[in-house]
Symmetry: C2
Subunit: 346 residues, 2 copies
């Protein structure tokens, strides 16, 4: 079953630079919450292969993984390499299914090299789409948008769909799919530039700048008949404002709450009784639950992408793995547009 000896074994001296979790942050992660470690890159055993990590996915969910306690996935332990989705290239293999030179996507962590047994790893085609796209539209964020919107949001043609974090990796895909499905789509984003991008690049019908506009007033204008589907990536005041505009039978998809992740005292939606008034639902999603349908989602989105109906936008920061902590903070400052990726090798 093995490919036998690796074709290009890495030198024993190859250094694997890593970012490990040093402490559980209180509020915003600080530089002291991270540890920079260098160790020799691992050697693949039988049935394993070695990946050189090329691009790291920088995700809001990372903040949750740093906390102790029960969640949808186990926490990253103190001293453990920080969890991260990534794409990379196989540089040594003793696994029958992965050959040297294959490009692969998986949870390789914030490090330069990763030994894998292939579980949870998929091959990607760098000729079909740029590698960062496999961390965005054709990766976990795209799949989150696809299944969350279609399976839980259940939008119908002509309905009004509102998306927060509309310029982000998930939100931009949600809005574009909703448009493809025949909905009226309103994005909420922070700042004029992002709002312009949401309308001009991603084709939303309208965008609301929550930083400079009166959100409730803008929602009344843009969604006069109420909001049928709200896909929430941010929580906080934005969620509360949209709750007040729900249409009868509305579906609120709770995908994330980036406004709350660094809060030590999270803010609950004070207007949640709008769910009662409007016979509406608020449902949490975790993309892993559709893992057995990922191929279907990827295939559909790749088709839309090839047809020019689904645009990808990646915000690629080039740098070494040691720049991960600072890059992560860009997400919480809202500095990114589209999927944030840290490219650590070519």
């Amino acid at each position: 079953m093995s490919h036998g000896l690796p074709k290009e074994p890495p030198e024993m001296s190859t250094i694997n630079r890593q970012i490990r979790l040093a402490a559980r942050p209180v509020g915003e992660p600080r530089p002291t919450d991270w540890e920079h470690v260098e160790e020799p890159a691992g050697q693949p055993g039988d049935g394993e292969f070695l990946v050189q990590v090329l691009c790291l996915s920088i995700d809001p969910a990372m903040r949750g993984w740093m906390n102790a306690g029960r969640s949808y996935i186990r926490p990253v332990e103190i001293g453990e390499v920080m969890r991260a989705g990534a794409v990379g290239r196989v540089i040594a293999s003793r696994h029958s299914g992965f050959a040297v030179g294959d490009h692969v996507s998986g949870t390789f962590g914030v490090q330069e090299y990763c030994v894998s047994d292939g579980r949870g790893v998929t091959k990607v085609d760098p000729a079909a789409a740029p590698l960062p796209t496999y961390l965005g539209t054709l990766g976990i964020p795209g799949l989150t948008a696809y299944f969350g919107l279609i399976e839980v949001g259940r939008p119908e043609p002509g309905q009004t769909v509102v998306v927060s974090g509309a310029a982000g990796a998930v939100g931009s895909v949600v809005g574009q799919i909703a448009k493809i499905l025949g909905c009226r789509v309103i994005g909420i984003a922070g700042g004029e530039a992002k709002c312009r991008m949401v309308v001009d690049e991603f084709g939303f019908d309208a965008a609301i700048d929550y930083q400079s506009e009166d959100l409730r007033k803008a929602l009344r204008e843009h969604a006069p008949d109420g909001v049928d589907v709200y896909f929430d990536n941010v929580g906080g005041d934005v969620l509360d404002a949209v709750l007040l505009r729900l249409a009868r039978g509305a579906r609120v998809v709770v995908c994330g709450a980036i406004s709350q992740y660094n809060s030590t005292k999270p803010q609950g939606p004070a207007n949640y009784l709008s769910l009662l008034v409007n016979r509406a639902s608020m449902t949490g999603i975790v993309v892993f639950d559709w893992a057995d349908r990922y191929a279907e989602g990827i295939a559909q989105m790749a088709t839309w992408r090839a047809e020019g109906r689904l645009k990808s936008l990646e915000d690629v920061v080039s740098g070494s793995v040691t720049e991960f902590p600072e890059t992560l903070m860009r997400l919480f400052r809202g500095d990114n547009r589209g999927k944030l990726v840290l490219k650590i090798a070519d």
Copy 2:
């Protein structure tokens, strides 16, 4: 179509005492928010009948009806007779479908006499159940419990169902139906006496006294595998505590939030992201949406009642219609056990 002349026309001098809304309350309703009016009882026109109101339903939802603004039902206007469900007796009729002596249930308002055209009015049988039961288990609270639990809570045999306001008109029925459906049922109520009643009278598996117990700790003990269905009548801290114990795929039924109705600054569920972690949903219900299936619900509950599997408990206060404002406050103080009814005539 008409029965012709009414058999027992009320005297023109019959006085109809009413409670009207005088002002919109801020926080708890105060005596000055009500106006006591006396006017002659109305005379039924063609296709109408006159009801003498016997029992008034005292409901948490009344607080919401006193507020201006969009809700699931239009607000009671200033100067209007306060809305109330009630049972009464037809004492004059020019309607072919309702005869003098019929007992009827409908939204007759907080007054002694009401002229009705029969819309939204159903006949009830005083020989089959006491009249107050038609305002409780065999009325709107029972139907709310029945459809909310079965259609939105969707409990499965062996699952854990938690109900707040467990000693109340809705909660006591929710728990009993969940038991009939084969669930493990935990009630949350305020005070030892109510908790005893929930277990001893209504047959719940356990009760938690939120006033004296550590709710989170008690939930850990009583629901070690998590809560599959939470039927919430109270909101606030109780909702937040249960959210932390949700099982994967849990359904939270938002029926009411009596802890918040008098609040000028409602408290949102800070732990709502538990919905995401657990792929859970929180869905608001309004019983009116099942109006075309009321007969089905009443028939099923009457059968269970006749079999001794569904107990009714009404907390009947006898007094004049002028005691309505004070009786309503008993609800918010949590003084009632079971369905609170103000009996204003025999």
